[in-house]
Amino acid sequence: MVLFSEDILLEQAARRIIASIAPNVFVGSTMGNKGYNYFAKSLPSIKRSLNGIKFVVFLDGDKLGQLCPIQQIHQWFGDPVPPNLCLRFAIHEVETWLICDRTNLANFLSVSPNVVPDLDDSVPDTKEVLLGVARKSRDRGVRDDMLPAANHSSAIGPAYNSRLTEFIQDHWDINEARGKSESLDRACRALEAFL
């Protein structure tokens, strides 16, 4: 089985989900992590590979625009969807899935629990929301890692991904988050059936 993810955080989340619902499944190789454009470029190769290889694909849903996920998948892979493919979108971004585990995220980022908003898949641009939470952290290390330095114009801080990877690997409670995020719950159920 190949795991193809849009970026490193989605890959980490996907690995945790797979490990929790199908502990015996071995993720053969991982691909992607180079953004959405790389996925779009790889699309023809993925389609050809689907003849013999199972693909689990995770993308951020913020590219969908007006389309609903299944329309988009049909556009890419045709109808019916090839049986070897399981493609899931995190709506609108993987950050939503993390924020939906409020208590653990609050502990991890050293903020009081009520700082982490109670939200679901309807809220867009949750990366901004998460950065806003990190900004209120009592731990300077968290702020330095996750937020861009004062005069820097990158969207995220220098160790944003490493911090969140640590959260996903060691602290993230998937079942808690599933209760709030419909796209996460659906992804888990789809993978249960697929694997």
């Binding site: 953004g35 330095a149 004062a150 820097h152 114009s153 990158s154 220098p158 160790a159 991904n161 490493s162």
Partner: protein, 385 residues
Amino acid sequence: MIVSSLKLRNWRNFRSSEISLSQRTFVLGANAAGKSNLLDVFRFLRDICSSQGGGLQSALQLRGGFSKVRCLSARQRPYIEIDITLKASSDSEDSWRYRLSITQEPRGFRRPIVEREEVYKNDERILKRPNADDDADPERLIQTHLEQVNDNVKFREISRFFGAITYLHLVPQLLRYADAISGRIIETDPFGQGFLERVAKTPERSQKSRLKRIEAALKIAVPNLRELKFERDEATGRPHLAALYEHWRPNAGWQQEDQFSDGTLRLIGLLWALLEDESLLLLEEPELSLNSGIVQQMAPLIYRMQRQRRRQVILSTHSVDLLSDKGIAPEEVVLLDTSGESTQAVNLSDLDEPYSLVKAGFSVGEAVLPKTIPRQIELFSTVSD
């Protein structure tokens, strides 16, 4: 202390450039654009201040003389100028500025001489040359005050800073075959031949704590590696690094550095350098021999290691993977533009298009590297015989 800005005139292939630098700076450019030449400015200052036989004349000789260092496209004013600003830290207001212009004697031996040397502390000028002493004895102009213990008392701090600059371009083969090659080690050991000796000379406590941290980083990067330790050969007393790899036979998995992969050796050397000192560290293409997964993690890894010692790092790179991390800010990137007659170093944050791309969420790699690919690269594959 960190270098916060640099202005160059007629330095190698840079006729005129001005850039700002941050705690972590990535220098990008096509092949032969001058990435190493840019890093060489700092090595040049280090060579001037070196406590062992340093000085302006020797630093220029090491580089083949004044004419090799001066920009080929230098026009009316054939002097070389380096103008560098230092700050106590990235958010500090206290600053030093050192400005050095070098030219040649108009006649005679045409030795390189100081045309102008100035030091400013918090914008107040504390040195200006040529001064009355230089007028009385022009011979003094073959040396900088930076290199003179008697003359640099008021700005010893910056002389020490330059003197401690480290350049690292670890060549695994030189380390692995150090005994067989028994080559001469260049004074500051840029290629890592004497790396094991350096580890050996480190006081035991810091040695242990550094190896522990390196071990933690390696465990993530190198599959099956479990433990890293320092040891001495009982018979010869030679220092060695040994790593334990997970193996079905217990105790069968200890390997010494001559069996490490190139990537593992480079990574150990790099991590050690980050933990070793507080002065400026120059890294030449740290991505070499490492797999793309590790290279993708390198920018945050450097940042995290830096946090302990606040060591400024300037690195040159070609790697899209290294620049794929979205935590790299445009302010941390210097781009070498070769479209004109000479190369121009510019901050990415001063270029409209790539800057907007990064602000919109593209990584620096996506936004910039296409710019550093030579325009006729498609023709490369048609070159034959």
